[in-house]
């Protein structure tokens, strides 16, 4: 991934910045120019909550080249409080600890290194919320 492409997404990847539709209140991550629910074009800035739960998950055994050294690793669809869903890795746990509806929180982590563009790329991953 080239650096302009990477840099553009930093507000979302580092800080979970989203857009809340002023028409219907739907929260969009990443932000959009028009709301798909009500077609309103006015948004206010908002930040996603970090807590949520696992909706579904998989263990990737055959990874793309950038993730070669990490396999096997867990990827899940996480539903955050408030309803926004995203795809991310779940780390610091074994697959046996995973289940649908398990509570998680998003943390800031290194995601991948692009050897071509020579940038270390960061973003969010989920960890299990332990009591």
């Amino acid at each position: 991934m080239r650096s302009p492409q990477y840099t553009r997404e930093i507000p979302q990847r580092y800080r979970l910045e989203a857009g809340k539709c002023t028409g219907c209140g739907k929260v969009h991550f990443p932000p959009r120019l028009i709301c798909d629910a009500c077609r309103c074009r006015e948004f206010e800035d908002t930040t996603l909550p970090r807590e949520g739960k696992i909706l579904t998950w998989t263990v990737i055994y055959v990874p793309p080249p950038n993730f070669d050294l990490e396999a096997p690793y867990v990827v899940a669809i996480v539903e955050l409080e408030g309803g926004v869903r995203l795809t991310c890795q779940v780390v610091d746990c074994g697959p046996e600890e995973l289940a649908v509806d398990v509570p998680v929180e998003l943390v800031f982590r290194r995601i991948q290194e692009d050897s071509q563009a020579d940038i270390i790329q960061y973003g969010y991953k989920a960890v299990l919320k332990r009591e």
């Binding site: 579904t56 998989t58 990737i60 055994y61 995203l86 890795q89």
Partner: protein
């Protein structure tokens, strides 16, 4: 809009065809389709080529004119169509529209993909998902379908064995198809013991990496009647729909909304209900995909596809035969070609020339093709006109 007919079909063998280039593959399929159409091919006035990613797989874009050139058809218009793995289906749709609109009498629609030249296939296929918000996090295509599979199993109790049954059935059918990449049977045990790709999916849940091309010739009724030698096959419906690019954006991860939408429109065009379909070719890129597609097409209620697959209802000879060609799983999945190859199979079925894999008395056939995790979908319904 006037009626459209399929008057010629052709395809290459599917497989790892190292000796053939992309242009050779396409031209071989197109020539076979033109030959099948008899002298109507002389009136060919335009062509559409479905291809997902010749740029990433072989470093060649702009294949429309290249393929028209090597087919010896310069200067007819030639356009590449891309909807990821549904590209072949979308090419057929646009060719149908051109004939239906009365702009052309005879149009070629095809698909091609050359996947085994050494490109990084996993990454190339991942471009059909959201690059910034899915692939960035290391999820692969098998991984995305594995997320759907886990959700389906959790909600409906779909079992690992039911998933395996889909692959076993498609290999059973593919063993009867001389064009198939993997024309042999497999067992449930082999599926369950094959290597892990993305839990709960294993290697034998996944369609393979394939080279191949397929082509069909579409024509007006007048041109079809002039062409003459085959039974007439009418395109009763040609529909397309979109869904969200990211799987996580769907209200229900187990539901293929775009397939439901395209199917609804196709049934409306054809004036039929799902139970009238005699034979189907569907997009079984992964075993779970065939089950979710059965539900989206209205062949069964949500959550009931697993037991149907297990009971053998989708076998040739069953109540709703699905993928008599072997499907993407056994026939192979040259991504841009698959949607067109489904039409080729349906035409063989409706003409009654599918040999050992013939579905008895097949009169109405449905082809469903999708790109990404179902963000693009085309549905075609063909009808044999006696």
């Amino acid at each position: 809009m006037r009626d459209v007919y399929v008057i010629g079909v052709g395809m290459t063998r599917f497989g790892e065809l190292w000796e053939s280039s992309l242009r050779d593959l396409f031209v071989e399929a197109a020539l076979a389709a033109l030959d099948d159409a008899g002298n109507a091919g002389e009136h060919l006035s335009s062509m559409y080529v479905g291809c997902m990613s010749s740029g990433l797989f072989v470093g060649q874009e702009h294949i429309g004119p290249q393929l028209a050139d090597y087919l010896g058809r310069i200067p007819i218009p030639a356009t590449r169509v891309e909807t990821a793995c549904a590209s072949g289906g979308a090419a057929v749709l646009h060719a149908c529209l051109e004939v239906a609109a009365g702009v052309s009498e005879v149009v070629l629609a095809g698909g091609v993909e050359k996947m085994t030249d050494g490109a990084d296939v996993t990454s190339a296929l991942a471009t059909a998902a959201d690059q910034e918000y899915e692939a960035y996090h290391g999820v692969t295509f098998p991984g995305l379908y594995a997320l759907m599979a886990r959700a389906h199993m959790h909600r409906y109790g779909t079992t690992r064995e039911q998933l395996a049954r889909v692959a076993v059935k498609n290999h059973k059918h593919g063993a009867l198809n001389p064009k198939a990449q993997y024309p042999f049977e497999i067992t449930v045990e082999q599926v369950l013991n094959s290597s892990r790709v993305a839990d709960p999916l294993r290697l034998l849940d996944c369609s393979p990496v394939t080279d191949g091309a397929a082509a069909v010739i579409l024509a007006s009724e007048e041109a079809a009647r002039r062409a003459g030698s085959h039974p007439l096959i009418r395109v009763a419906a040609s529909a397309q729909a979109t869904g969200t690019i990211a799987l996580h954006s769907r209200a229900d991860i187990t539901r293929l909304d775009a397939v439901e939408q395209a199917a609804k429109e196709a049934y409306r065009q054809a004036g039929i209900t799902p139970d009238k379909v005699d034979v189907s070719e569907v997009h079984d890129c992964f075993t779970i995909a065939e089950l979710c597609v059965m539900e989206a097409l209205g062949y069964t209620e949500a959550g009931k596809s697993g037991p149907l697959a297990e009971a053998g209802e989708t076998n040739i000879g069953g109540r709703m035969p699905i993928n008599p060609s072997g499907g993407l799983k056994a026939k192979g999945h040259p991504v841009g070609a698959s949607g067109a190859a489904q039409i080729v199979e349906l035409v063989h079925q409706l003409r009654g020339e599918a040999d050992g894999r013939q579905v008895e008395n097949a009169r109405i056939g449905l082809a469903q093709s999708m790109g990404g995790t179902g963000a693009s979908c085309t549905v075609h319904i063909l009808e044999g006109v006696s």
